[in-house]
């Protein structure tokens, strides 16, 4: 679960990590007062759940209150498009108005889970301010890594090793060590899956500060996280994904026109790949899950059909726990209840009660194309273009 920059910074600050002074505002009327706190010399940053906001004009340095207001007016309540958003972009509901600082050096610091090692790792680089993937590609030896033993946690000696490796002035070592240990505490206490501070700035006054911060909370640990400041901002989410989520469906909105309904995440990805290989593009990732019932399938189809981009549907079910007849009934119910015309539905059903399912679909007369395998499915999807 992604947090906004301002939430990530509040979390860090709560755990003793220095961050610049700032204010979150959500209406234009608040801008002047906020900017005045910094005598107009501040940075205006859109708060969105997508990377690439800087390149898309979502981060602006201003040097007067008037300019702050002007920039805020251009950003607030609009949608912003970055290379990570859909073409419609995401809404800018909040702006962070933050003091502008004299930075003498920018570092990179992150804490995340390394699946291969099965451990938490700390990554740091003297190449701050850049995307770490780029650094990893260009100058991989500029990335330092430290592995955390889950039984004793991050050790300050490891932080000291990093400080040395990053070439940080010895006078600042204890500041860096404290900052990193506090960030680690925030990570562990809040069940984060990622905290990234980029850049971690050394100011001309010799202070270390988290200038930008990203944080994600492990969704599977939310049941034990009660801090209200860690609320998810569902306004950043496409309406259709929000609907799916609240219905207990795993759904990711994409740009294509083939709505996909599958059971199982792996098979759902495979279905998307097959669709793409057929020269079509998937409109979504959708895993109805193993424990779905008729209602849930009904809901899933309803959600698929609510996407105006969906021109055809590809249902791919390998019945295991989930029986094919249950899926068929859900599809029929949703098709019959639909107020808009139902697009053609290509259905592949295998496994438990596949025959029964196919029969139900055939008899319902709702424009279903029954196929037996991926090859046939591909052909049918193509023919419907």
């Amino acid at each position: 679960m992604k947090l906004h920059e301002y939430q990530a910074k509040a979390l860090l600050s709560k755990h003793g990590v220095p961050v610049p002074r700032s204010e979150v505002i959500s209406s234009l009327s608040e801008v002047r007062q906020s900017a005045q706190n910094f005598n107009g010399k501040c940075v205006v940053k859109v708060q969105i759940h997508a990377g690439g906001r800087g390149k898309s004009g979502g981060v602006k340095l201003v040097d007067s209150v008037d300019m702050a207001e002007e920039v805020a007016g251009q950003l607030l309540s609009k949608n912003i498009v970055t290379h990570q958003t859909s073409p419609e972009g995401v809404p800018v509901n909040d702006l962070l108005i933050e003091e502008a600082l004299n930075v003498s050096k920018e570092l990179y610091l992150s804490i995340l889970v390394d699946g291969g090692l099965g451990k938490v790792i700390v990554m740091a680089s003297e190449a701050g301010g850049m995307e770490i993937e780029q650094v990893a590609e260009d100058t991989p030896d500029k990335i330092l890594r430290v592995v955390v033993d889950p039984n004793v946690g991050l050790m300050s000696y490891q932080a000291r090793d990093l400080a040395t490796g990053l070439g940080i002035d010895k006078k600042l070592h204890s500041q860096f060590i404290k900052l990193l240990l506090n960030t680690y505490e925030a990570f562990i206490q809040t069940d984060c899956s990622l905290i990234e501070i980029n850049p971690l700035a050394i100011t001309s006054q010799g202070e270390l500060l988290a200038i930008d911060a990203k944080a994600s909370i492990d969704e599977d640990a939310l049941f034990r996280q009660t801090d209200e400041s860690l609320q998810y901002d569902s306004r950043q989410e496409p309406q259709i994904e929000k609907l799916a989520r609240t219905s207990g469906l795993s759904y990711v909105k994409l740009d294509g026109d083939v709505g996909c309904l599958v059971n199982g995440a792996g098979l759902a990805m495979a279905t998307m790949d097959v669709t793409m290989a057929a020269g079509a593009t998937p409109a979504n990732f959708l895993d109805v899950g193993g424990g779905a019932d008729v209602d849930k399938v009904h809901k899933a189809v309803e959600i698929l059909l609510s996407d105006p981009g969906v021109k055809k549907v590809f249902v791919n079910i390998f019945g295991g726990i989930l029986r094919c007849d249950v899926v068929a009934e859900g599809i029929v119910a949703a098709a019959k209840a639909s107020k808009t015309p139902v697009p053609p539905i290509v259905v592949r059903m295998l496994g438990t009660n596949a025959e029964e399912g196919r029969k139900i679909l055939k008899e319902a007369n709702i424009g279903v194309y029954l196929v037996n395998d991926f090859t046939e499915a591909t052909k049918t999807i193509k023919s419907l273009s």
Binding site: G115, V120, N151, V252, L254, M269, A270
Partner: protein, 293 residues
């Protein structure tokens, strides 16, 4: 012969009286699995399906029934502890079906299990099936599988059924099929399973199904290059997944270049694996690979 499970498997089911636990225990028994005990705290003393004794604690279940393998269906908040209870009670192989363990729990638990010398499959996995020995310790649909000499290992559940659903009609039976699970941190990785398949005299080739996210497939590629002599047939799904989004599985999220399907395919290709071009071709690619060898 098979890996992880076999004729000597004496299965214990933790969470046997729950909805999922009871349904799948029945399916496992039907398949021929020797289910010797169940555990549900507070329900000790009952009989499941009129024959499997239910205990309050794993310790007592193991003492009474000599169970050596455990299948776990308890809710995510308690699953980590259930794994530790199993290991502490002497269970050698633990298979955790439960999805949704906090990753920090998985980190601690996997570390604990490793130190104990026991084996853990999962969490968030479909389990293990050996059509050769008629042992099913998992939630897969048993009827799809057929005995044979190909090992299957996968991060995904239904996609494995799909793979097997393509293999069986072509006459390609399976020795053991292992679902390592869709979580970023898990008890056994591709490397662990590839290693066992390589050593298993009853496995001739290995079908490995990976996906986007993490670097488990790259580690597998390294291992295949240096340690695996048997043909490996590999499919990676998620070619069309957008970066930064979690595709169902907690581990299926593209966080960097290495996490991309293309990067994984490249590594496996370089390691000498047979690459399955599209999910439609798992059966045919495997057939070709077997004919080549």
């Amino acid at each position: 012969m098979s890996i992880f499970v076999g004729k000597e498997t004496r299965l214990l089911v933790q969470g046997i009286t729950g909805r999922e636990g009871s349904y799948h225990t029945s399916r496992c028994i039907e398949y021929g699995t020797n289910v010797v005990a169940g555990v549900t705290p507070g329900k000790g003393g009952q009989l499941f399906a009129d024959k499997v004794p239910v205990y309050d604690t794993v310790k007592h279940a193991v003492l009474d029934t000599k169970a050596n393998t455990s299948l776990i269906f308890v809710p995510p908040a308690f699953a980590g502890e259930a794994i530790i209870e199993a290991v502490d009670s002497g269970i050698e192989t633990v298979i955790c079906i439960t999805e949704g363990l906090p990753v920090s729990d998985s980190i601690k638990v996997c570390d604990y299990v490793k130190r104990s010398g026991a084996k853990l499959i999962g969490p968030n996995c479909p389990g293990i099936i050996s059509p050769v020995d008629n042992v099913k310790a998992g939630i897969m649909p048993g009827h799809v599988y057929a005995p044979g000499r190909v090992g299957v290992v996968s991060r995904s559940g239904t996609l494995t059924y799909e793979a097997v659903g393509q293999l069986t009609p072509l006459g390609i039976g399976q020795s053991t099929c292992v679902g390592i699970g869709g979580d970023p941190v898990s008890g056994s990785d591709f490397v662990d399973v590839l290693n066992l398949f390589e050593k298993d005299d009853f496995t001739d080739a290995i079908v490995m199904i990976g996906e986007i996210g993490g670097t488990k497939e790259q580690e597998a590629a390294e291992f295949i290059k240096s340690e695996v002599s048997k043909p490996v047939i590999s499919l990676i799904v998620g070619q069309t997944a957008p970066p930064g989004r979690r595709m169902g599985h907690a581990g299926a999220i593209i966080t960097g270049t290495a996490a991309l399907a293309s990067s994984k395919v490249k590594s496996l290709e370089q390691a000498g694996a047979f690459i399955v071009p599209s999910p439609a071709d798992i059966g045919s690619t495997t057939k070709q690979a077997l004919e080549k060898n």
